[in-house]
Symmetry: C2
Subunit: 219 residues, 2 copies
């Protein structure tokens, strides 16, 4: 039996979470989603590489209808990614409507199918400024819905919900995670742009100002 | 603006719900899901036909990963559909893990994207014996999660949650719905089998015993 299904984006938070739960001795399968974001093309190979490195099974679920039908600047079909910090109003355009709900629902159904009792998501306390489906109250309500909708067979857990992104960076460093094998930038170009909200947070988390961030940024 | 996004399976419950909300003067878009069930091949053309008849927009979302990765006798990849009533333990094999959660999550994200404030699902009081993601307590918890996860922009509603399937059949007859343009049977053969749990319920709802059911059954 697999102890946990982890939602793995290829970003730093879920990568640290994966390293963390493997350290705890859990058996884990990873599930990733190709929903047509500009950075899926960079993130998903990172997710696949992490699974190969850690020797765990990995499913990539394709959700092309999101790019076709949904509205968000994060998507290939959307407008340009704005620059600036997460707190600024213009970053709201990067919200993919109910994305975490969709990913968690699919992960819950998959976990029930393989009789795994737990789904893990690496959302954290810094995520909830503009993303309603990252906030603690959403997490609680959704976890309850999954508990009821799977007859108690699957629990959704957010182990980093009370941690700051920098705490996660520090934990990953302690665990020996190579952050160059993770991707954060929303723009999905050849290197991290260094100016979008996601890069801004990554720099904070990986202590860029202290010269400790191994990422190559364009700016 | 579209008043409501309706999850339309092509079965009788969602067909009646569609006819009902159109009678109320609402503008509606329909969303259907091809998740690889044995009866999708019969249901989805019914859903498309209903949308054409009623002159509304229709999206069919393909979710091939469910058939590939999930466990259920309802799926093409699963074992044979058992015969018998919904209450019997063997019908449990027809549960598709967290299917309603997945469909509702996608419908919620789609509704937010097109700025529609409401998603409608035709689940009813008779549904919850074996399907945990049809029960009232799941519905309540999931609706709360969607409310929180969309910043209050989308409400999930279950207008038939307190109705019995026969009430729905009677309402559809009052509305003049042609039930021969709906599909229920889980087996997805050329005609309704008449012996699976879904056919059993359809016969009850459409008053087969009273000679009022227009469906052609194999048995």
């Amino acid at each position: 039996m697999i102890d946990s299904v982890i939602v793995l984006s290829g970003g730093m938070d879920s990568a640290v979470l994966l390293a963390h739960v493997l350290t705890q001795g859990k058996t884990v399968e990873a599930i990733s989603f190709d929903y047509g974001s500009k950075h899926n093309v960079r993130e998903l190979p990172m997710a696949a590489g992490l699974c190969k490195t850690f020797g765990i099974s990995h499913q990539i679920i394709r959700l092309p209808f999101i790019n076709d039908l949904f509205s968000s600047s994060l998507l290939s079909s959307g407008e340009a990614i704005p620059d600036g910090s997460y707190r600024e109003a213009n970053m709201k355009s990067t919200v993919v409507p109910f994305r975490n709900g969709i990913m968690l629902s699919i992960a819950a159904g998959y976990a029930e199918s393989i009789e795994s009792p737990e789904v893990l998501l690496g959302s954290h306390s810094g995520d909830h400024h503009i993303y309603p489906d990252c906030r603690p109250e959403f997490n609680r309500a959704f976890a309850e819905a999954v508990d009821l909708g799977t007859d108690g067979q699957v629990k959704i857990r957010f182990p980093f919900s009370n941690m700051d992104k920098r705490d996660i960076g520090d934990l990953g460093r302690t665990l020996g995670l190579d952050f160059s094998k993770t991707w954060t930038c929303y723009k999905g170009e050849t290197h991290h742009c260094g100016t979008c909200g996601a890069c801004d947070e990554r720099k904070y988390a990986l202590r860029y100002d202290q010269g400790r961030d191994v990422t190559t940024y364009l700016a």
